[in-house]
Amino acid sequence: MAELHVELVAADRQVWSGEASLVVARTSSGDIGVMPGHQPLLGVLQSGPVTIRTTGESGDGTVVAAVHGGFISFADNKLSLLAEIAELSDEIDVQRAERALERAKSDADAAAERRADVRLRAVTGVH
C-alpha cells in the first residue's frame, strides 16, 4: 500500500516521524484527511487531535497527538505537521490535564480550557 512520510514537529523538538497511510487533522475550515498522493496542500491547523494511521516500517497502528495551533503542509508525498506545542497521546498526563481543565474552568480561561480539552480528547480518543 502506498504510504506517506509524516513529520510531526514542535517548535523545540521533533515529536514523531514515520510512515502513514492516512492523517486526519483539524484545519480552520474543518477536518481534513490526507492520504498518499494528495494534492500539495498548506493549511492552518486548529487546536485539536491529529490522528495518524501508521503503516509500513512504523507498524500498523494509530498515533494520536494533541496539537495546539500550527500548520499542515503536504508535498512530494511528505507531510509535515508544524505546531508550537504538540504532544503524543501517551505523553499526556491525564490527571494533570484534568486538573488543568478544572482550573481553567474555574478561572474562566477559555484558551487554557481548550488546550486541556484537546489533550484529554487526544488521550480518550473521543473526537
Binding site: D12, Q14, P40, G43, V44, F71, S73, A75, E84
Partner: protein, 305 residues
C-alpha cells in the same frame, strides 16, 4: 620567612584561587555549550519546515502581503539586538553591539529611522549608558531561552511591522545576533527578517535549490495561511537566533575562561620562580651572615689569645 617571600606566597595563593574559579566556569560553560547546541539542533526541523512552507506560499501564490512586499520608500526599521545577560565572555557582547552599531549607521545612511529592541542586560546597559532610546528590552533568559521567550520578544515586533509606518509602525525588521559557526568560531551577523527576501529563504533551504515547488492548495486561503504563517516564521527565526546566541555565549565564555585559566597558570609559574629566587637569596644571605659572624667570632677569640 622573609617579607618578600611572604608577599610572593600570598599572591600565588590568590592566583590559585582565581584559577580554580575560572577552571570551574570553563567546565560549566563547556557542558552548557553542548546542551545549547542540542537545543539548536532540536529546533532546526521546525524552522526548516516553516521556511519551506513560507517559500511555498510566497512563490506559489500571487498574494500581496504587507510582510512579503517591500515598501517603495522604507522610512523606519526595527532592529532586534541579541546580547547576553552576563559578561565574562571575552568580546562576545561588544562584538554583537558593534555589529548593531554598524547596521544602525547603514540604515540611517539609507534615510531610515531605527527603532531598537534589545535582548540581554549587556546590550541594555550599553544603550542606557549612552542614553540611546530603546523601544523595548527583555532580560533574564539569554542563557537558556524557551519558545515562550521567543514569542514574547516577537509579539511587539510583529505588531510594529503590521502597523502603518505613519502610526509608529516599521517597514523592515532586522535582527543582529551571534551566529554559532563552530566551537571555536562565533560571528556577529545581521539578518533582515522582513520583508522576506525570497533568495535568502531559498538559499537557507539547500534542498529547494533547483527544485520546482509544486502548486499548493491552500486551506482556507492563501492570504489566511500567510497571515498565520508569517508571525510563526518570525517567532521561529527569533527563537533560532536566541538559541544560537546562547550557544555562542557559552562557547565564548568557555574560551575566555580557558585563556584566563592558562594565564593564571602562567602567573603562578613566574611567581613561584620569583618566590624560589627570593628563598634562595634569603638562604644565601643567612649563610653569609653566619659565616661572617663565625669568622668575626673566630677573629675575636684569636685576638684575645
Amino acid at each position: 620567612m622573609g617579607a618578600k617571600l611572604r608577599v610572593y606566597k600570598r599572591r600565588i595563593r590568590s592566583v590559585t584561587a582565581t584559577k580554580k574559579i575560572t577552571k570551574a566556569m570553563e567546565m560549566i560553560a563547556a557542558s552548557r555549550v553542548v546542551k545549547a547546541q542540542r537545543q539548536v539542533a532540536a529546533s532546526t526541523p521546525y524552522a526548516s519546515e516553516l521556511t519551506r512552507a513560507v517559500t511555498a506560499v510566497a512563490t506559489g501564490s500571487n498574494t500581496q502581503h504587507p510582510l512579503t512586499t517591500e515598501t517603495e520608500k522604507p522610512t523606519r526599521a526595527a532592529l532586534l539586538l541579541i546580547t547576553s545577560d552576563r559578561g565574562l565572555a571575552g568580546g562576545y557582547s561588544s562584538n554583537v553591539v558593534k555589529a548593531a552599531d554598524q547596521l544602525t549607521e547603514r540604515l540611517k545612511a539609507e534615510g531610515k529611522e531605527v527603532d531598537v529592541y534589545i535582548v540581554g542586560r549587556k546590550g541594555v546597559a550599553y544603550y542606557n549608558f549612552r542614553e540611546r532610546k530603546v523601544v523595548e528590552s527583555w532580560t533574564g533568559f539569554t542563557d537558556s531561552p524557551t519558545y515562550a521567550d521567543a514569542k514574547a520578544v516577537a509579539a511587539p515586533l510583529i505588531t510594529a511591522v503590521q502597523q502603518d509606518t505613519a502610526e509608529g509602525g516599521v517597514d523592515e525588521l532586522h535582527i543582529v545576533y551571534t551566529e554559532f559557526v563552530s566551537m571555536m568560531t562565533q560571528s556577529a551577523i545581521d539578518n533582515r527578517l522582513l520583508p522576506l527576501s525570497l533568495d535568502e529563504t531559498a538559499e537557507s533551504e539547500d534542498t529547494s535549490k533547483g527544485e520546482i515547488l509544486p502548486l499548493f492548495d491552500f486551506e482556507p486561503s492563501a492570504e489566511d495561511v500567510l497571515d498565520a504563517l508569517l508571525p510563526r516564521y518570525v517567532e521561529s527565526r527569533i527563537y533560532n537566533a536566541l538559541l544560537q546566541a546562547a550557544a555562542s555565549k557559552h562557547a565564548a565564555t568557555r574560551r575566555a575562561m580557558k585563556s584566563a585559566t592558562d594565564n593564571a597558570e602562567e602567573i603562578i609559574k613566574s611567581l613561584s620562580r620569583l618566590a624560589n629566587a627570593a628563598r634562595q637569596a634569603e638562604i644565601t644571605q643567612e649563610i653569609s651572615e653566619i659565616v661572617g659572624g663565625s669568622a668575626a667570632l673566630a677573629d675575636a677569640t684569636a685576638g684575645s689569645d
